[in-house]
Every structure is written in C-alpha cells, then in structure tokens.
C-alpha cells in the first residue's frame, strides 16, 4: 500500500493504481491525476446549472426578451450599473490597500483589532447596512436629529442616488480587497523589499515599484469580487434609490409571468459579469510569484510610522466607524428601543443555530469543491483549467433569485429527493460562493513553490500525498480564509435561502428580512446583531491565527 515510487515509473500490473493507464492519456492531462480534472469539471458543471436554466427560460420568451434587452432604457440602466461598479471598485481598493498595509506591515497600535474590525463589515447584509445608513445620515435621520437642537439643522442633504449607493457599498465591500491583499502581504518575501532598499530606493519608492506591483494579482482578485458583488446587489441600491440593472431583473421576477424576460436580462447581467472577469484576467499577468521555502521564517520588517501614526490612526478609525460603527450603533439603537417598548423574544437562537449550521456546511463543501479548480488553474494554466476557473465566477454575479429558481427548476425535475432540503440549499451556496473560495485559494497557491511538491514526490510520496502533506499546510491560511469568507457570505445570503430552504427552517438572514419587511425594526436588529457577532468569531480567529504563524 505504501510502496514508494519514483517519478515516471509505472506501477506493476495489478497494483490497483491509476498510473497504469496514464499512457493512454494525452500528455497535457497526464501530469495531474485524472480525478482532479474530473472533479473540477463536475464542480464547474454544477455551477453551470443555473445558467442553463436562464438560457432555457430566456429562449421561451423569444421576441419580447430580445426587445427588452436592446431597449434604450435597459441599456441606460446598464450604464448606471457600470458607473456604480467603477466607483465602488475604485473606492474599495483605495481604502483596502492602505488599510491592509497598515495592519500587516507597520507598527500601528492594536493592529490585530483593526484587522478584525476592518473585515467585519462583510457580516452586514447590504440592505441592513443601507437601512442603517439612511437611518443615521438620512435627511431626517439620527444625525440630523442631534444636530437640530444645537445647530438648527433642519434637513441634511440626502445621500440617495449614486453617491449614497457608492459610499454604502464601498464601506460594505472593501473587506474583499482587504482580505486578499492582506493574505498576499503576509506571504511576500521580505528580501525583495530589502533588496530594493539596499539598491537605493526609499521605503515609499520600494512600495510603489516593488510591493505594489506584487500585490496587483491580489488586488485584482479582490476588486473582481467587489465588482461582481456590486453588480448583483439589490437590497442596498433599492433603499438608496439608485436604479440598477439588478433592480430591473428583480422586478421582472417578482411579477412572476415575466420570468422569461427576467431570465433574458439575467443573461445580460451574466455577460457583464463575464466581461469583468475577462478584464481581470487580462490584467492579471503570469503571476508565478512564489516565495522561497524559508520566507515565513525571516523576521518580518515593521515600518515605523513615526509622525504618520496619528493620520494612520485617524484613517483606520474613520473607516471602521463608518463601515462598522454606524450600522452596529443603529442596530443597537433599534434593539434598545424595542426592548424599552416591551418587546420580547427578540433573540431567535434557533435561527442563529440554523444559520451557523448552514454556513459551516457551505464553507466546508465550497472550499473542498474549490480546490481542484484552484490547483489546476495555478499549476496547469491552460485553456481548460483557466476556463473552468473563470466559469466558476459566474455564480457570484447571478442574482440569488436566479440561482434559486434555477435550482428549483432542476431540483424539482431531476432531484426531487433533495428538493427543499439542506443538501440542495448547500449546493446553491456552493454555486453562489465558489468564486470567492477559488480566488482566495488561488492567491495562496501562487505563493507556493511547486518544487516543494516535486521534492516530496521524488522522495516517494504519491501526488495526492505530496499535495496534502507539503502544500496544504502552507496554504492553510488561504483555505481558512476561503472557508471563513464563504461562512460569512452564507450567513447573510437571502434570496436563494428563501426559495430553496427547507420549509420550516429559519436563518438569521430570513428573520431579518421578514422583520424588516413588516417594519419590526427591533426584531430586525436583534438577528442582525447576532449575525455580526456570529461572523466576528471566525473572523477574529482567522486574524489571530495569521499573526501567530508569522
């Protein structure tokens, strides 16, 4: 069983290994186990199901779908979506990159706390965040109320429209970029920056010419997530009164007989998403930036901020205050108001438990499903593997309702056994959040020297074994980050959960939604806070673990 093997040697006949039939495969397939390719294709195929659904439905509507797609108004709204995406992506990068650098490389006090606080906005569903913002900063919101007394401010300028939508979405989605950049910063070989320094470049020049370019892949991956998230967001833009393409689609779906048109429009959305993915891909160069084996062991260089400490502190505080402080404050405010008004039973522990279960399941399954695609796209970059990886991104861009209905379509016809059970729901989560996991695992793998695995293989381990014992421990932070991201996203996912969830189950997200629909703000606040707290725990864990390893 543990018979060791030299690379290239064929196992003797009858040993039961898969190596014997490798000669029948074309060379480009031979080097990675066939099972890996099959797994990757299966996962990508699963992600394709909702797309198939959209195509089928859209085909039904024929003429009217084509008309509505090429309608001038539709295109005008598409343009609005694009404007929003550009602003949000730029803003997120501008906030996240300095923040990531500050929390990894400098002597900013309480770095770990800042890191956790910087990521937590991800836990806040966009509609809750938007609602909180309007409540706080709206023309007649909390802030205005406070200012009215001493300053006589009757009305604040409203933040509806592109400005408000951009600001809120930036604050809620910059953590995507923050996480990917941070992960890469930890793994950057410090010698490169030291080399630049000794070659006469100041620390700032070093950052600009060496560090930053090395961060581009990570920034690109994070920015893509932000862009896709913005593209598919509905809740926040609706509240902030900014019409986007996704709103059109949602409206179509909610008038059920327009499913066909909605499907056609969803395909347009997909097309936009695909273009975004292609843009990121072309910006991403052959990023084989792997660090040496002992990169992690070298004492990491800390930049002393000196007189920049105060500005850095202010910057971090401002971001955290706006992105996390305001929503939490408003939620607590609503909650206390409800408690004072005598409401009870506000904390739905059952829903919290269910949310955590679903999210854990989704996290584990998604990460495992993401590994084949990630590995293949990094180790064997070629048409097929890159195509699989790019394809897995579409799930993130599709409106949750499309994914949900798509799986209803397939589930009710071909998989009645698991229809309306946890299993199909977790499947939906995998489809939705696969790209997040793939992106994070890829970034992590890019930092690993494939020679390590080959060294292990030359010492007699099988390929799987070498991967598990040599590479996996090194990419563990990436795997953990991927799992935690999927956990967070699943915790706040709404439309697919509503459609596909087992009938009696309640998650925190659905509780929030149903309470907010009926203006039970206190009842919406409690699960929202639980959501943030439940997401804070794994986030903190991840950040603290990062530190101790490095």
């Amino acid at each position: 069983m543990n018979r060791t093997r030299v690379i290239g040697e064929e196992a003797p006949v009858g040993s039961g290994s898969t190596w014997t039939h490798r000669r029948l495969l074309p060379p480009w397939l031979r080097r990675e186990p066939l099972s890996l390719w099959l797994a990757a294709i299966a996962v990508a195929g699963a992600a394709a199901l909702p797309v198939l659904y959209l195509v089928v439905r859209a085909a039904e509507s024929g003429e009217s779908a084509v008309d509505s797609i090429f309608d001038f108004d539709t295109l005008a709204i598409l343009w609005r979506s694009i404007q929003l995406i550009v602003l949000v992506t730029l803003g997120s990068v501008l906030i996240a990159v300095p923040l990531a650098w500050l929390t990894v490389r400098t002597d900013l006090p309480y770095r770990r706390a800042w890191a956790v606080a910087s990521v937590l906005p991800l836990a806040i569903p966009s509609y809750v965040g938007a609602l909180a913002f309007i409540s706080a900063f709206g023309p007649k919101g909390l802030l205005q109320g406070w200012l009215e007394g001493p300053f006589g401010v009757d009305r604040l300028p409203d933040l509806y429209g592109l400005t408000g939508a951009s600001v809120v979405l930036i604050l809620l989605s910059y953590p995507y970029v923050f996480l990917t950049v941070r992960a890469t910063l930890w793994r950057l070989e410090p010698e490169m920056e030291e080399a630049s320094w000794t070659l006469g470049r100041s620390p700032w020049q070093t950052f600009r010419r060496v560090t930053l370019p090395l961060l581009y892949p990570a920034i690109g991956a994070g920015a893509l997530l932000v862009a896709l998230y913005t593209l598919s967001d509905f809740g926040a833009v609706a509240l902030l009164q900014y019409d986007t393409f996704t709103r059109v689609i949602f409206n179509e779906y909610n008038s059920a007989f327009n499913r066909a048109v909605a499907a056609a429009l969803s395909l347009v959305l997909l097309a936009v998403a695909v273009s975004l993915i292609l843009i990121e891909a072309s910006a991403r160069r052959r990023a084989r930036y792997y660090s040496g084996a002992n990169a992690a062991r070298r004492r990491r260089r800390i930049v002393r901020l000196g007189r920049w400490r105060l500005p850095a502190f202010i910057f971090s505080s401002l971001v955290t205050l706006l992105a996390l402080g305001i929503p939490v404050f408003v939620l607590v405010y609503w909650l206390t108001r409800g408690v004072n008004a005598g409401e009870s039973g506000l904390f739905d522990w059952g829903a919290a438990f269910t949310s955590v279960q679903y999210s854990l399941a989704a996290a584990v399954v998604t990460v495992i499903a993401a590994i084949p695609i990630s590995v293949l796209s990094v180790r064997r970059p070629g048409l097929l593997s890159t195509g699989l990886e790019r394809f897995s991104y579409v799930g993130f861009a599709m409106p949750g309702i499309a994914v949900g209905l798509g799986l209803v379509f397939f589930g009710i016809r071909y998989a009645t056994g698991i229809y309306q059970t946890v299993y199909l729901l977790v499947f939906a989560y995998v489809v939705l959040f696969l790209p997040v996991a793939v992106g994070l695992i890829r970034s992590s793998l890019l930092q690993v020297n494939p020679r390590m695995e080959e060294a292990a293989m030359s010492l007699g381990r099988s390929q799987i074994n070498a991967f598990l014992t040599v590479t996996v421990p090194v990419i563990r932070p990436g795997l953990a980050a991927a799992a935690i991201m999927v956990f967070l996203l699943t915790m706040k996912e709404l439309p697919a959960t509503l459609i596909l969830g087992p009938i009696e189950s309640r998650t925190l997200a659905t509780s929030i939604w149903s309470a907010a629909e009926e203006a039970f703000f206190a009842r919406a606040a409690a699960p929202s806070l639980l959501l943030v707290i439940a997401s804070a725990a794994p986030m903190t864990f991840l950040v603290l673990r990062e530190r101790s390893r490095n």
Binding site: N2, T4, D73, I77, G138, P139, K140, D158, A238, L239, Q241, D243, T244, R247, V248, N251, Y253, S255, A256, F257, N258, R259, R337, A341, G350, F353, T354, L360, A361, V364, V365, I368, I401, L405, V408, F409, I412, R413, Q420, T421, V422, Y423, L459, G460, R461, T469, L498, P502, I503, E504, S505, R506, T510, S514, A515, E518, A519, F520, F521, R523
Partner: protein
C-alpha cells in the same frame, strides 16, 4: 534509491477532513430534525394530517396564527415564507410537481399570476366574504382587507391641506414632497384599479403629473411611511395599516397619520390578501380546513388586532382606530381584476416609474 517513508501527515490530514465531514453530516441531520420540531407549541396528534403552505405574508405576522391553527386542528403545518412574487415564480417553476398545498398571497397580483395552478373553492368558504373580496371564478378568497390611503406628516401638514382625490397631487405645488413605492404590489394593484375606474387616458395623465413632481422612490410601503414620519417627504401613497405598526413601535409621537381621500376613487381602493388551494395539493382536506380557519372569527380578529387590517367576515370588528370600511368611499371594482399587472407595469415603465 527508494526508501520507505511513513505517511503520518497524509493520514492525519485525511482523517481530519473525514472527521469534519462526519461532524457536518451529523449536524445537518440534527438540524433538519430540530427544525421540524421547532414549532414547540404544536403537538401534532397522531390523526392530524400535514399541510404545506407557501406564504407571501411575513413570518413574524403569520407564525403565531399558524401555531394556533395547529393547536386547534392537530394538523402539522409547514410554512415556506418568501416574497409573494418569488413564491409565485417558484410555484410556476415547480409546476405539476409542486409540494405546496396552499398559497397565501399578500396581494391580488400574486394570485393572479398563478391563477392557472389553483382549483375552485367551495361556495361556503367563498360565501363568508363580501363579493368584492374574492375572485370571480371562486379561485381564491380574500382573507383580510387593506385600504389604500395617503399618509401625511403631521408636523408639516394637516388634513385641510390635502386634496380630496389623488389627482390633486399632480398639482406642481406638491413637487418634491411626495413619496411612493411603484415596485410594490399593492401600489401596482391600485394603479390597475385606476385603469379600470378612470380608464387609460386619465391614468396616464395622473402618472405623468406625479412623475413631474419628482416623487422620492422607496422600495416598499414601510420605508415610505418611515420617511413620512421623519419628514423626509410630506405625503406617501401606502396601505393603511403600516402607520399603526409604527405607532405601536414608536408611540403616538410618530409624526404621521393616515388620510383617507374623501373624494374616493382608486386612491381609496380596498385591496385584499388572499389564499388559494393548488391543484397539485396532496392534502386538499387539510388545505380547506386551513382556509376555513383563516376565515374564522379567531383568525380574523387576529388580523384586525395584530395587523390592523380589515376583517372580511361578519361578526368581527375592525380595530378601534380604523375608520369604518363602509365610510370609505371605496370604488366599485372587482379585486380579481386587480390581478392583471402586466399592462400596469408596462405603463409604469413607460413613465419611468419602474426601472
């Protein structure tokens, strides 16, 4: 040179992964059990049947009612809560294989879109509600009534300032002071009614006039009322009962009140929530019992007291603070006609009210 190397690490990683997976499976299995028992108060007796309800009405409102139903009948009711529109879409997708028995919708539009999937109800059931509160072919029955109204900010306005009919709001003096939610089902039902009562031309004029006054757009009724209360807008076109929810949560200090248009017209239309039994229902008997319960005094009082909606059966009084249904100048339309949303939406889209 070949040497034996123990595979501790590989084994350990695989074991860990398997362990995690095992825990996962257990956890999921337990969770589905847990959720099945989550309705603690109900002790479904052995003879009680099962019932699957798709409810477009929110859980926070309906769940207590469901519990009472289960306690009273011993039927184990499983409810799928989601938006009316997306439930309708789901039902259409599910088609013949749908597991649902009952569809409980927030507004007539939702019922209208799945009208092909439901079967006629018994005369007795239908007979409990007024004629105008049920579908013409007995395909669905109204459960509670909601009046369209205009909510206004009491700090800025008093009833004398407000026009008698909706058309009054097209006056340019109302520019920038109106809030509405054109994506909302009830609003669209009202506009459908408008088309029926006023005709297409007049409806278009009204839409044009309101749009010219640059109304603030909200996603739903709730934010509209909230905005009116805070003074962000001064009037809003909503359903009547939202205000009462705000009053209950924030007290009488909430600076908004309902204004029922004395001039009548579509702005005062009474909409209904409704329920229907699906053709694919496996538990038709239990479904009937559920509708029967919804139209019972107990449930109707619940809607009156907890949701501030209008009960539809005889013998149950509305909540005190609501104006009498009869006193409202309700237009004479058949709610079942309000189910035709397609043309309304196209109209709204034409004027840019819908994206």
């Amino acid at each position: 040179m070949t040497t034996e190397i123990p595979n501790f690490l590989a084994r350990r990683t695989i074991l860990m992964a398997l362990g995690l997976a095992a825990v996962l499976v257990l956890v999921i299995a337990c969770s589905s059990d847990n959720n099945n028992d989550s309705s603690e108060n109900s002790g479904p007796s052995d003879e009680g049947g099962e019932l699957i309800i798709y409810s477009g009405r929110s859980e926070s409102l309906i769940a207590p009612l469901i519990e009472k139903f289960e306690a009273a009948t011993g039927i184990d009711a499983k409810v799928n809560y989601a938006g009316t529109g997306s439930l309708a879409a789901t039902l259409l997708e599910e088609g013949d294989r749908s597991p649902a028995d009952v569809f409980f919708a927030q507004d007539p539009g939702g019922l209208g879109s799945i009208i092909e999937l439901v079967k006629p109800l018994s005369d007795e059931l239908i007979g409990r509600v007024p004629d105008w509160a049920r579908s013409s072919d007995n395909l669905w029955v109204g459960i509670s009534g909601r009046a369209r109204t205009v909510v206004y900010n009491t700090d800025a306005l008093s009833p004398e300032d407000l026009p008698d009919t909706l058309e009054g709001f097209t006056d340019p003096v109302w520019k920038g002071r109106i809030g509405w939610a054109p994506t909302n089902g009830s609003f669209q039902a009202m506009v459908t009614g408008m088309r029926l009562i006023w005709g297409e031309e007049r409806t278009r004029d009204w839409l044009e006039g309101i749009v010219a006054n640059e109304p603030k757009v909200y996603a739903k009724n709730t934010p509209t009322v909230a905005a009116t209360g805070s003074g962000e807008v001064e009037v809003g076109f909503v359903n009547h009962y939202y205000l009462h929810r705000f009053l209950a949560e924030e007290g009488d200090g909430f600076a908004a009140r309902n204004y029922f248009l004395p001039g009548g017209g579509p702005g005062s239309a009474i909409l209904v929530t409704g329920a229907a039994i699906l053709k694919t229902a496996d538990n038709a008997i239990e479904a009937e019992r559920f509708l029967d319960y919804l139209l019972s005094a107990e449930a109707q009082s619940y809607f009156a007291e907890e949701a501030y909606e209008y009960p539809l059966i005889d013998g149950v009084e509305r909540a005190d603070m609501l104006p009498d249904l009869a006193s409202l100048s309700t237009p004479d339309i058949d709610v079942s006609d309000l189910g035709d949303l397609a043309a309304t939406q196209n109209l709204l889209r034409e004027f840019g009210a819908l994206p």
